[in-house]
């Protein structure tokens, strides 16, 4: 069983949803980024998404755009993102790691070689924002050959007719983009979330995680009441960015502040279904 499937199965047995936290590889520097990655599972993250920096993150709002810019300035690259995972796996062999990014750095790396190296490093799944099902053949066979899950995004604009096409190549879990918009902007209401889920559930047994606009412990709790997981990204990056000095360097409390927030989010997620 893959790490992703095993983790969701264990959470189901505990009757709780997953907290999926995000960090941008090498933001603002490799040591801070690595400390965050190592600290997140201990602070309560169930799965971790690592953003692979790209110069032109079309689906991201200002927060993650700036994170990518800092990461690239620090020397972040696809190769360095994979190296982070390899280092992390020396100490943690159970927390699922999902790489999230854009297609061009993968194409540049070579899709087949990338999937081979990512699997060898200990990556479990890939979210490639600008690779819709219509273009998936560029990557999907290589990912499948190496046992990497392809986690697809489903948006409010994805209608019931299109849904089966999107789900057909999905594995691991499904990522529901809860708003029409870029990352870190608007937040979907609990009613909007509740309305979207039944249609997705009708078409898949895969776990569903909700992302885009999930910022607070309360919002994370609402997300796991409606679905199987909550993805928190921009809110954590905002905390990181707020802790940097005026030259963009990490402060003494950068890691602690972000991980404190992860702990609060984890509390929110863990209490969500108890309070029902």
């Amino acid at each position: 069983m893959s790490r992703i499937a095993a983790r969701f199965e264990a959470l189901r047995a505990e009757n709780r949803g997953a907290l999926i936290t995000f960090l941008e590889a090498w933001d603002p520097d490799p040591a801070t980024s690595m400390a965050l990655l190592r600290g997140m599972p201990i602070a309560g993250a169930d799965l971790i998404e690592i953003g692979c920096p790209f110069t032109d993150p079309m689906a991201d709002g200002p927060t993650i755009q700036l994170a990518a810019k800092r990461a690239l300035a620090a020397g972040g690259s696809m190769m360095n993102s994979l190296a982070m995972v390899r280092d992390f796996r020396r100490e943690d062999d159970t927390t699922p790691i999902i790489l999230m990014g854009y297609l061009n750095p993968i194409l540049s790396y070579d899709p087949q070689r990338f999937c081979t190296d990512a699997a060898a490093a200990g990556v479990d799944g890939l979210i490639v924002v600008d690779l819709p099902p219509e273009e998936a053949a560029l990557l999907a066979p290589h990912a499948a050959a190496r046992g990497l899950d392809i986690i697809r995004l489903i948006a409010p604009t994805t209608d019931e007719q299109r849904l089966p096409l999107v789900l057909a190549g999905s594995s691991g879990f499904v990522y529901y983009v809860s708003i029409t918009g870029v990352t870190g902007t608007r937040t979907a209401s609990a009613a909007e979330l509740a309305a979207a889920m039944p249609m997705i559930r009708r078409h898949t047994d895969l776990p569903v995680a909700i992302g885009f606009g999930v910022r607070s412990p309360a919002q994370a709790a609402a997300a796991v009441r409606a679905a199987d997981g909550a993805v928190v990204a921009s809110a954590l990056i905002d905390t990181l960015a707020g802790s940097l000095d005026d030259r963009g360097r990490a402060g003494p409390d950068t890691v602690r502040r972000v991980l404190d927030q992860v702990r609060a989010l984890a509390d929110g997620v863990r209490s969500a279904r108890k309070s029902l």
Binding site: T55, D56, M58, S77, L107, T180
Partner: protein, 412 residues
């Protein structure tokens, strides 16, 4: 006429004009690389465009606007003094700079705004580099009373002030983009982000033959009127086809509009001129085909300026309209199969050609077509006196006089 089929109509298997395929591919280029949120919209645009093309009333409506509002057909001008100065081939200029708003951009804006209206969209967004596409978009939005937001890199806002003011006069909101390199590619990122957030009511009016399918084919189809008219006009003037057709390339819409109707005329040599900036060896240029390699950006697979990690690198050109690290996917295909030759001209060569045309013909060209003219100045002298070169004079240079003055050391 050797080419009776309308633009985009099905053609024979041996035609260079039959692309893209059902997946929006020209060979291995093109496609639809967008986030899932946008995918249903892209498919909706594709469907609406197919329906519009199949509807004769759409073409009739478009033709009327092109004739009475844009001022088409644009003239074909024999540049006699330029020809004499260069001492070789006869140079003809397709006068797209005489269109309303002063460039070829309005051809596609008119087509797309009529499509947006048919789709029931109530808000228009666009990206712009030099500002010509932004002005043309703001113009058609004023004509139809639609709110318009134009994204423009902060660097371009600074160097194209007259066009920024024009857009504002026309009622458009101009949003200065400071992310990334603050030029055309970043403006396009920001427009895509806006579209993702406003999917229900907004139409994204893309200015060039790039972006996700169907934009490269659709913008091409609307721009093909350039080459179609030129073909007829040259037939009238010279009784034959040109030997060489030349156009400048940023994203490549004016070049595609000129070239496409000639693609199946094997005797016509087609030459696209990319911006070489400070020179191809300087690393400061915008020549995606010459200095880039294939990748995916802005919804399509095409040649891109990028580093070893697949990060997009910054383009440079004196011309804001050519300052883009990619190129339309159909150009990438035509490059790889060898049907079109792609060359480049530097900032300095374009500046020289800018002044040459101004003084020999009394026509101030935009810095974009000045790159095409720079190439003409290189090749015309060595050609026979009865050879014919057709150049797309895609825009007028009023917007560029401040940039040119600065480069010539003149204080205005």
């Amino acid at each position: 006429m050797s080419d009776p089929a309308p633009p985009g109509a099905p053609r024979g298997a041996n035609s260079f004009r039959s692309g893209p395929d059902g997946n929006g591919r020209f060979g291995t280029f093109g496609g639809r690389f967008v986030a899932e949120t946008l995918m249903p919209l892209i498919l909706e645009v594709e469907q609406a465009y197919s329906a519009a093309r199949a509807d004769p009333a759409f073409q009739v409506e478009l033709d009327a606007y092109l004739k009475n509002y844009v001022g088409r057909p644009s003239p074909l001008w024999f540049a006699e003094r330029l020809t004499r100065h260069l001492g070789g081939a006869r140079v003809y200029l397709k006068r797209e700079e005489l269109n309303h708003t002063g460039a070829h951009k309005i051809n596609s804006c008119m087509g797309q705004i009529l499509l947006a209206r048919r789709m029931g969209k109530t808000r228009i967004i666009a990206e712009t580099g030099a500002g010509q596409h932004g002005v043309a978009t703001a113009t058609v939005c004023a004509l139809f009373g639609l709110p318009c937001t134009v994204y423009m890199g902060a660097t371009d806002v600074e160097r194209q002030k007259p066009n920024v003011f024009r857009m504002k006069l026309l009622g458009a909101e101009v949003k200065s983009v400071t992310s990334g390199a603050a030029t055309l590619k970043d403006a396009m990122n920001e427009a895509l982000r806006d579209w993702v957030a406003n999917v229900r009511d907004t139409y994204y009016l893309i200015g060039t033959v790039a972006g996700p399918h169907p934009y490269p084919a659709m913008v091409r189809d609307f721009q093909c009127i350039i080459g179609e008219e030129a073909k007829v006009q040259l037939q009238e003037a010279e009784g034959r086809l040109p030997d060489i057709a030349v156009a400048a390339i940023g994203g490549g819409s004016n070049a595609m509009g000129l070239f496409h109707p000639f693609l199946d005329d094997a005797a016509v040599k087609l030459v696209g001129v990319e911006a070489a900036g400070y020179g191809l060896d300087s690393g400061k240029h915008a020549a995606s085909l010459t200095g880039g390699r294939p990748g995916v950006l802005h919804g399509n697979r095409t040649y891109l300026l990028q580093d070893d990690d697949g990060q997009i690198t910054e383009a440079h050109s004196i011309s804001a309209g050519l300052d883009y690290p990619g190129i339309g996917p159909e150009h990438s295909w035509l490059h790889d199969i060898g049907r079109v030759e792609y060359v480049s001209a530097t900032d300095d060569e374009a500046l020289e050609a800018f002044q040459l045309l101004t003084r020999t013909e009394g026509i101030i060209p935009a810095l974009e077509p000045a790159h095409a003219l720079a190439h003409v100045a290189k090749i015309a002298p060595a050609l026979a006196k009865d050879a014919i070169i057709l150049v797309n004079l895609s825009g007028r240079g009023d917007k560029d006089i401040f940039t040119v003055a600065e480069h010539l050391g003149v204080k205005l």
